[in-house]
């Protein structure tokens, strides 16, 4: 079975100093550490597991700058067979990303297309679902388990409250993958160094039939820090004192 996984290179922002760009439309990223999007890592691992079980090939695709090659190399070390990078246009949103991916994918034959549920930077969660629509394929989002039965995929979707929905889709189909679907395997430095010798194909948007001047339909107007407020109250004293204070607060809020 042939699987394609769409991946994204994202900056890690936990504990980092965040600065807003002069035009106010994005954060500064030069000093940040970049990595494979967490959800996409689970998707690539899942593709590798499906390949072990059912055979076939795994292709990873990303829309990104030259530096995205690092992320593709990691995916190759994780078991992907082919890697493709499409040079990202100067401005991107989920819809345009999905258009670019669909332009690449529609001319190739795949049984399954995997994406992560969302990306760690914008948390939009749109690309996978829009991609399915553009390709005219069935899809299931927030997938936590995949089983193949003949030419169908039987998957579990994560809903609220601990409930799963079981969905059967005829292949080819698009699935957006939730974290925790599998236990990611360690990718050794030796494996990454070996993967660096593998070929990564670069494509420009012109080469896949998209007009190079294409701009996204949505534009980020402003990025800003949430206002700092002072609504946290720290209770001090011995455990007994704190319990007393806490009980009073809860009673007051409950209105009794």
């Amino acid at each position: 079975m042939n699987i394609v996984v769409c991946v994204k290179r994202i900056p890690k922002t936990a504990e980092a100093d965040i600065f807003i760009e002069k035009d106010g439309r994005d954060i500064k990223k030069d000093h940040l550490v970049f990595y494979l999007n967490d959800w996409d890592g689970y998707a690539v691992r899942e593709a590798a597991l499906l390949k072990e079980r059912y055979g076939g090939e795994v292709t990873v695709i990303t829309v990104g700058p030259e530096e995205s090659k690092e992320v593709l190399t990691r995916c190759l070390a994780m078991g992907a067979d082919r890697a493709l990078r499409v040079e990202e246009p100067p401005d991107l949103d989920g819809h345009l990303t999905a258009e670019i991916l669909s332009a690449v994918i529609k001319n190739q034959s795949f049984d399954l297309i995997l994406t992560g549920v969302q990306a760690e930077d914008d948390n939009a969660g749109q690309v996978g679902v829009e991609l399915a629509q553009m390709l005219g394929l069935p899809h299931a989002a927030i997938v936590t388990h995949i089983e193949m039965t003949g030419d169908k995929a039987r998957v579990r979707r994560e809903l609220e409250g601990g409930i799963d929905e079981v969905v059967e889709l005829k292949l080819p189909a698009v699935l957006t993958i939730q974290t925790g679907i599998n236990e990611p395997k360690y990718v050794s430095l030796a494996a990454i160094l070996d993967a660096e010798d593998k070929e990564i194909k670069d494509l420009g948007t012109g080469e896949i039939g998209l007009s190079p001047g294409k701009t996204p339909d949505t534009k980020t107007d402003r990025v800003f820090f949430p206002p700092v407020t002072k609504t946290a109250e720290i209770l001090k004293g011995s455990p007994e004192d704190v319990v007393k204070q806490l009980t009073e607060i809860i009673k007051k809020k409950k209105g009794s």
């Binding site: 890690k12 550490v33 050794s188 430095l189 030796a190 494996a191 160094l193």
Partner: protein, 377 residues
Amino acid sequence: MKTDPKTFVQDYHLNGCIQCGMCTGGCPVKFRSPLNMRRLVRETSSTANPSSLFKRPELWACTTCSTCSLRCPAGVKSVELIMGIRNFLANQGEVPSTIRDALENTLLQGNPWGRFRDRRADWAKDLGVKVLGEEASDTLLYVGCAPSYDPRVQNVSTALVKIFQKAELDFGILGKKESCCGNEIKRMGEQALFKKLSKDNTNLFKKSGIKRIITLSPHCFNAFKNEYPDLAIPVQHYTQVLADLIETGKIKMSKASDVPVTYQDPCFLGKQNLVFDEPRKILTSIPGLKFVEMERTRQRSLCCEGGGGRMWAEGSTEGTRNGEIRIKEALALGAKVMATSCPFCLLTLEDAAKISGMTDRIAVKDISELVAEALEA
């Protein structure tokens, strides 16, 4: 760099084994896990398919204290065998999940804790410490990952800075350019990552023009002194430096303590690198301090279980932790303070004191903290 388990017999001199059991007899996790070094050596040397032996969780219980290799009368490289097995497993991605995270974090952020690189020297920002690159010095204080990021161990880093400043010892730190020394990385099996860290660090040290390195942790001390192939810069553990500063009168301790103190010899400082006397010289120089020696002391010091990647390991051991055993031993001596000179001993022993509910009877402190307290006139 492919590891072939079929070469292990040769690489680690397994055929020299006389099955005496000195290794298992001295192993600090013998009673806490099924790990049996004597049997492992025998099995590895007599099987045609060594890799079948390696999918055992107890292989991750080893703390790499090295008691087995140090005591072997036949020159078998037992702890090196464990590290070779872990390397074989790591290259295939077959490591426990928390070890996986520690290794990936180190590649990404330069420390196994996964903390952001740029935050590494935040602990020092108000201490007036030189950062090499911005200012020059002949001496590097190599801080290490736990002393940079762990709040408890940051006290040790701060205490040491205070002492050096009081003694007018000129030094600098690398600041956020500092990356993991790789000692534990190698012990968790990532030889390729260790090679990369050692190469990058060696270049960084050479470029900064330093002539001397002082480490806070015995683990970093061990890596730089014994395992970096091209370093050629003298390395000392801070206890060696403090002992010298005390002897030459550069440190004056006037505040007396009158508390019985015992000392945990860390494996990577003591039994592996034979630095036993300097920590004791320091402690016995603190006015009023009553030094009491534990029974299992110096080479026989009981491993705290912090090494060998155990700081990032979960499970594969059971029963009472060695840390708790050591705290009980110290209490039986009447000690009120357990002194340490290693960040991992500090953390594991302090946790043990907390778990056994003994924090009102014994405090766990680093030697640098004790000296800094005695400095306050």
